[in-house]
């Protein structure tokens, strides 16, 4: 990680920055050592460093107001250490996983990887590669969200701040704050003027180790050899296997941006958002019914379940083509397809706790 950063900084002609980026902020409420006098924020335009999307995703309020909602989660900057040099093992060597343990799976060409929740809960960010593409796999335990981002030549770290109980990441080249769910830059104490950009995202599947291994027996798995001395057998927040603690009760650790009682706070929805709007499908009935329809920013969409992985996908369906499921295969206009591969435009979708989704997207369309 450091080598990569230093290479980048050297290439950018900003060697003076290199010594600052590796150290932790000693105080949770303080500012980064790079924030004063380094000129990082003026010197490196965000869009020159981090791959960004063509259009910006919706925000629930002005960016400065979002910043005002940031609270210290307790750990200082990088107090939760990202994994910057991940190693992987074959599925046969993942004996630290139980069949019901959550894993976050991704397929990219020939690359098939699983990131165990029990490891990510201790690190929240893995700076990795999918093939030759540098990516960050990020997980926020308090909102139940796992999201993948392209990261270019920089790496992402954990700022120690939370908005709406959600991880606020920062990129180590420009020190810009990136609230995870929003995937969009906001001003912060380490970079006051990052502009408004949204990250390029890719999807991960929240499923169980048993289901992922059955679907992808050739998968590799993030190893517990992370470079940190952590206890990966103990989740400080509770447990998903079985579900208990924070993940099932109705309390949040910090204040939420909004409250909405249509679902319990921790109820899991499948959320999708595009520049024109947001939509949430209740995950449980989707898995039962196989298909649900709705609208996203005024455009008809269809959500389909993938029962093999206990997940679902959302597709734009502007022409209202008939979609049906037999529980395994999905038919579109009478032709049969894998749920993950319909002949429609797929929208980036991920699991989220209801309070987190509604807090960030209060105008979301909701289907249950």
């Amino acid at each position: 990680m450091r080598v990569t950063r230093r290479r980048f900084v050297a290439a950018a002609g900003l060697g003076a920055v290199a010594g600052c980026t590796g150290s932790a902020d000693p105080g949770a409420g303080g500012t980064s050592s790079t924030s004063t006098g380094s000129g990082v924020e003026e010197s490196i335009p965000v869009e020159d460093v981090v791959p960004t999307a063509d259009r910006t995703l919706p925000l629930p309020m002005a960016r400065d107001d979002l910043r005002a909602h940031a609270v210290s989660g307790g750990p200082p900057k990088d107090g939760i250490p990202s994994i910057d040099d991940p190693t992987f093992v074959g599925s046969a060597n993942a004996d630290f996983l139980n069949p019901g343990d959550p894993v976050f799976g991704v397929v990219h060409g020939d690359v098939v990887k699983a990131y165990p929740q029990k490891i990510l809960v201790r690190h929240e960010i893995v700076n990795d590669h999918l093939g030759d593409r540098p990516v960050a796999v990020t997980y926020c335990p308090l909102t139940g969200t796992v999201q993948g981002f392209e990261r270019g030549e920089t790496t992402f770290g954990v700022s120690g701040r939370l908005i709406n109980n959600n991880l606020v990441m920062y990129d180590r080249a420009t020190e810009t704050w990136w609230p995870q769910i929003l995937a969009t830059s906001i001003p912060g104490p380490w970079n006051e003027t990052p502009g408004t950009h949204s990250l390029r995202e890719f999807g991960l599947v929240w499923t169980t180790w048993r289901l992922w291994r059955e679907r992808h027996p050739d998968t590799t798995v993030l190893s517990t050899d992370t470079g940190s001395a952590q206890n990966y057998g103990r989740d400080p927040y509770g447990s998903y296997n079985p579900t208990r603690g924070y993940y099932e009760n109705g309390t949040t650790l910090f204040g939420t941006l909004t409250e909405d009682d249509r679902f319990d706070r921790k109820h899991v929805v499948l959320g999708a958002r595009i520049p024109d709007g947001a939509v949430a499908f209740d995950k449980a009935p989707l898995l039962e019914r196989g298909v649900m329809t709705g609208e996203l920013g005024g455009t008809p969409v269809v959500a389909v379940a993938d029962s093999d992985l206990d997940t679902g996908y959302v597709y734009l369906n502007p022409d209202g083509r008939p979609v049906a499921s037999d529980g395994e295969r999905v038919s579109v206009d009478g032709s049969s397809h894998d749920p993950a591969d319909l002949p429609l435009a797929r929208v980036h979708t991920f699991d989220a706790m209801w309070f987190a989704w509604h807090g960030y997207y209060p105008e979301t369309d909701v289907y249950a």
């Binding site: 307790g74 750990p75 952590q230 206890n231 057998g233 927040y237």
Partner: protein, 197 residues
């Protein structure tokens, strides 16, 4: 005049506490009480931190690279430091960090408090049991100090939502515990007559 008296009284109390401490360490029964409570506290402290807890099993020892630098790096909360070694023995995993050193220091104070309280209890004519239990009471913030390093995670066990004030307050638990433990040690120690033991 009164200031000199005050200093004199404090000096006498500290002197007597040091003497009583030596007695605690010398007497087999008192030192056993001190060692047992100190060790018990350290185990609770490490458990509260999550540094001594059930793990993923197996037998394994892992030491991080750049361990010395990592040893002083902050982790999850105020006065919380990053583990530099992991020892897994069957179902139990132990993480070694600067917090083990800090916890050992606080555990020593807890042990001395209880050892001294034990001596006071053995002198009921000198010091009533009710008063001598102050050493036990001083152990409560000491135990809480262990939770300080968990940051707000402890709050949902209590059903309390964190705020800036609460999070800030966590950083004072460990220093407060040390102050209270030293204070209670002197408080109890000065009431014990070493010659009567």
């Amino acid at each position: 005049m009164s200031t000199r008296d005050g200093r004199s009284r404090v000096g006498a109390a500290v002197s007597r506490t040091l003497t009583v401490t030596r007695v605690v360490l010398r007497r087999r029964d008192a030192s056993a009480v001190a060692a047992a409570t100190g060790l018990g506290y350290l185990l609770v402290y490490l458990y509260a931190l999550g540094h001594l807890a059930p793990g993923i099993g197996g037998v394994d020892v892992t030491v991080v690279s750049d361990a010395f630098a990592t040893f002083f790096r902050p982790a999850l909360g105020p006065l919380s430091f990053r583990p530099v070694a992991r020892v897994s023995v069957g179902p139990i995993t132990y993480l070694f960090s600067l917090n083990t050193v800090l916890g050992t220091g606080v555990a020593a104070l807890v042990g001395l408090n209880l050892g001294t309280t034990y001596l006071a209890w053995r002198q009921p004519s000198t010091c009533g049991v009710g008063t001598s239990s102050s050493g036990v009471l001083a152990g409560i913030p000491a135990v809480l100090s262990g939770t300080a390093c968990c940051g707000p995670v402890v709050l949902f066990a209590l059903g309390v939502q964190a705020s800036g004030i609460v999070v800030t307050a966590f950083q004072f638990l460990l220093p407060a515990a040390v102050v209270l433990l030293v204070g209670s040690l002197v408080l109890v120690g000065r009431r014990v007559d070493p010659t009567a033991i």
